[in-house]
Symmetry: C2
Subunit: 223 residues, 2 copies
DNA sequence: TCAAGAAGATTGTCTGACATTCTTGCAATC
DNA sequence: GATTGCAAGAATGTCAGACAATCTTCTTGA
């Protein structure tokens, strides 16, 4: 009779997910931009050693989710509007292309998934949970990107969106932004469902421009 | 009279450059794709401890320059043609945009730099040093990207180019590729110098298509 | 009030260790 | 002879503890 079978399932794999935990914490806005991350504190909170933590921090640094200044340690970068604009511009470039490709190649099954994620966002949009709004909207995009036929496009896009996730929560909180965002996303969906590549690009571009403007507004009012 | 001033200049900063050393080693094709990197060996070669090395490896992993499989350790990823194509496509998207923007905003001073880098490539092209060719060509692109007015575009592009650097050395070695590449780059330069945005985009797109085709040819012949 | 110095905190790095997992070569069996 | 199983070695994943270098902050003195 084996006494303790599977008492600790995946004992080592857990630590490897440190990056994901931290990334999620940054996404959800747990840390203020500009605030420093103290290694010893994080170690205690995550229950891992400093070497392991520092590995995770290096990954996040490479993803530009944190900054590590020599002898000052890691901190959450405060996004300037200049950089945010640049990110939005590149995002537009990628997302418009992805929407266009997606329109002409998505499978019926994935199209249903896309519709489902749109419904999820619709539900979130009627609530006041801006985190849920950002998450469901991200699902919508990621389905489009996953079906554009170019894994690199998807990967780069994900990296960029991650860096402005902080913003997006704020801009979603703007009066009426979630609803108009919903309308724009529905338009994108319709174009993709119709297989109209050109229209999908246009709808996607329009959505991005609006999102960018909303982000700017939320930033101006905050700071 | 200070006895030993700057005996060890930047004693701690040196280790921080481990990532750069490794990155350069990967660029120059020191490691075969698919080959494993043994931590203890690298530690000895670089003269650093395992924790420090592992931090550096995490950075490179996040940049997709190496792969780290759990319990198997780091290795050089072997680029499939599928992924390489995807990278070329995104690179085209970014580079065409950058060339267009650059045409309408580059300063006379930077334009001279661009011309200089073109001359450097011209010289390298007449030699058989394919590493020099790749390096000088990279300089040419990076000046364009640095003058497109979007730092993110530049950053993402750099990351992508790094991942296919292995290829580019091979394709440059193709008979006549360096010369035709030179002609295409000259064309791009002329368009930018003339401030013709549309033509710059077209020339850039043409160049990328040719480069992609050359890369495919070199890959087919190798494997 | 402001500047210089000291104490504390934090990072950068190392050594050493150990459990887990993978690889490889050998032996035993069919 | 080929295949399977096992065991030894190698390599990774993770940790604890330590120490110098650097930054921050607070105190003290001019």
């Amino acid at each position: 009779m084996p006494p303790d079978l599977n008492l600790r399932i995946s004992p080592r794999t857990v630590q490897r997910e440190t990056v994901d935990k931290l990334r999620l914490a940054i996404f959800s806005g747990l840390f203020q931009p500009g605030s420093r991350l103290i290694e010893s504190q994080l170690c205690a909170q995550l229950g891992i050693s400093r070497p392991s933590l520092r590995e995770a921090l290096r990954s996040l640094e490479a993803e530009r989710l944190i900054e590590i200044v020599p002898n000052r340690g890691p901190s959450i970068p405060s996004l300037s509007w200049e950089v945010a604009t640049a990110i939005y511009e590149v995002r537009e470039l990628l997302e418009v292309e992805a929407a266009g490709r997606c329109a002409s190649r998505i499978s019926p099954e994935q199209l249903r998934e896309l519709e489902k994620s749109l419904s999820a966002f619709e539900e979130a949009a009627s609530s006041n949970d801006s985190l849920a709004q950002v998450m469901t909207a991200a699902d919508f995009y990621s389905i489009i990107l996953a079906n554009c036929g170019n894994p690199i496009l998807e990967e780069v896009h994900r990296g960029l969106v991650a860096r402005i996730s902080f913003f997006r929560g704020r801009s979603m909180s703007l009066e009426g932004r979630a609803q108009s965002s919903l309308a724009e996303m529905k338009e994108i969906f319709e174009c993709i469902a119709a297989g109209d590549e050109k229209a999908a690009r246009k709808a996607s571009k329009n959505h991005l421009l609006k999102a960018k403007a909303a982000a700017k507004m939320s930033m101006d009012s905050e700071m």
